[in-house]
Amino acid sequence: MGTITMLSFETESPNKNAAWQGMLLDMNKFRADFPIFAESVNGKPLVYLDSAATTQKPRCVIDRVANFYAAENANIHRGVHRLSMEATEAYEKSRRRIASFLGASDAREIVFVRGTTEGINLIAQTLGRSTLGPGDEILITGLEHHSNIVPWQILCEQTGAVLRVASIDDRGEVIREEYTRLLSEKTKLVALSHVSNALGTINPVREMIAQAHEYNVPVLVDGAQAVPHMAVDVREMDCDFYVFSGHKMFGPTGIGALYGKASWLKELPPYQGGGDMIASVTFDKTIYAEVPAKFEAGTPNISGAIGLGEAIRYLQDAGMDRIAAYERELLEYATSCLMEMNQIRLIGTAQHKASVVSFVVDGVHAHDIGSILDMQGIAIRAGHHCAQPIMDRFGVPATVRASLAFYNTKGEIDALVTGLKKAIEMFG
């Protein structure tokens, strides 16, 4: 495991309590599972506050992927030989694990995709193209990442459908009256983020889904920023589709999953054609495979899927509720530290938030903040976070975003504050 660079927990606020202390001991243990925290950046201990872009990987995930290639590699769903059968079983076991993690009733409701973006495009190009026509409406919110905007714009161009957007208020919450008003008989699809990547706002998805269902409108939830931070139950939420990326939840890049209600997935046309998605092929007629194979043409990202399954096992061991409680405390601490600084204006102050503090600094551009923090070993994101409409809404070209995961510490928040003070001093 090597030497782990631990930032001190000693500097935390005075309102220590036994529960927080107990939680610290637990989380301290988890941080040691991430080998990258033994690294230094620009000669400084790495302070990684960019988990909304991608999370770091625990040793068990890194080892699981390496071991697959070193000792288990074979293609799936094909060979009768031992390695192929075992690879297939490992791949399908990951699918079952994802189903249980999301509260899905059946592993066949889980489709492996490259990530959230591909999951959304899959629904746009299957459900969207087969059911939408001119004048039909797709409803999204003003909180969406480009990946939950552009696929729908493409679909609108293809079908003549119209994109509607329920805007957000000054705190970064969807204006519910507007959402309610925009839902109508014309609405054929709703797509919502569970948690905003740019602001951290948690959407009240359960209520919003119930509203859409009153019009029999299917709802897709972009869960990319939710699954690493909170327990998700797709049946309780009653979404029709839920998508997420493995790399934002401590798994490998290039793998993610789409959950779809079985009744929907059976009805949808295939996404891409190729091997593995067919039952039989002749030059006259092809019969497609059952779900989920129907949506998984070609050799998939096998090692990625297996690595993702391992990441989920790791998260389940850590406990999503415990992770959520720890991160809530951490986010509150970060928010209060930044609010004490006069030059900082928080962007996104929703009542319910997860993981993200986004802000601008008076007189200092986000990119200069980013470079100055980087030189101190602190990784944050500076820019529009693939959510330009949100930047426009708040009238800023870019924000600084610090995004947290359960391996972060209050000491790292203190390092961020020190770094910001240095930047302000330099440009002040």
Binding site: A366, H367, S371, M375, H384, M391, A398, F427
Partner: protein, 152 residues
Amino acid sequence: MSDELMDLYQELILDHSKRPRNKRKLNEANREADGHNPLCGDHVTIYLKLDGDTVADASFEGGGCAISTASASLMTEVLRGKSLEEAKEIFKNFHDLITGEPRESQESPGLGKLEVFSGVCRYPARVKCATLAWHTMNAALERSDAPVKTEE
């Protein structure tokens, strides 16, 4: 301040970012172009007053981060009195400096104080900040009507 910070944010850059020169609309301008860096949200408008073959005056509006503002400010200072050919040559040399390309012509013409941007080539994410004003100036010279973007 650490050496790394000074490498990128040299004193002259900080000075021009805090007190940009020639940051105004140039009413007598006969060339003008807009530049946009969608990654940063930075916008810049470059105004040039050409007198025959010479840049008689130059100014800018907009800007963004310290690097892009200082780059626009220093550029307007350097360009004044230069011939169109010299302006293009400086742009080329400046571009090579920023992107870490070996410069072909060390002599003609020298970059002078623009050398303060030499640290930028070690920060690939910031190269576009330093070159936005220059690409925009080049578009103004070429009378290209399309707004300049750093992203293709």
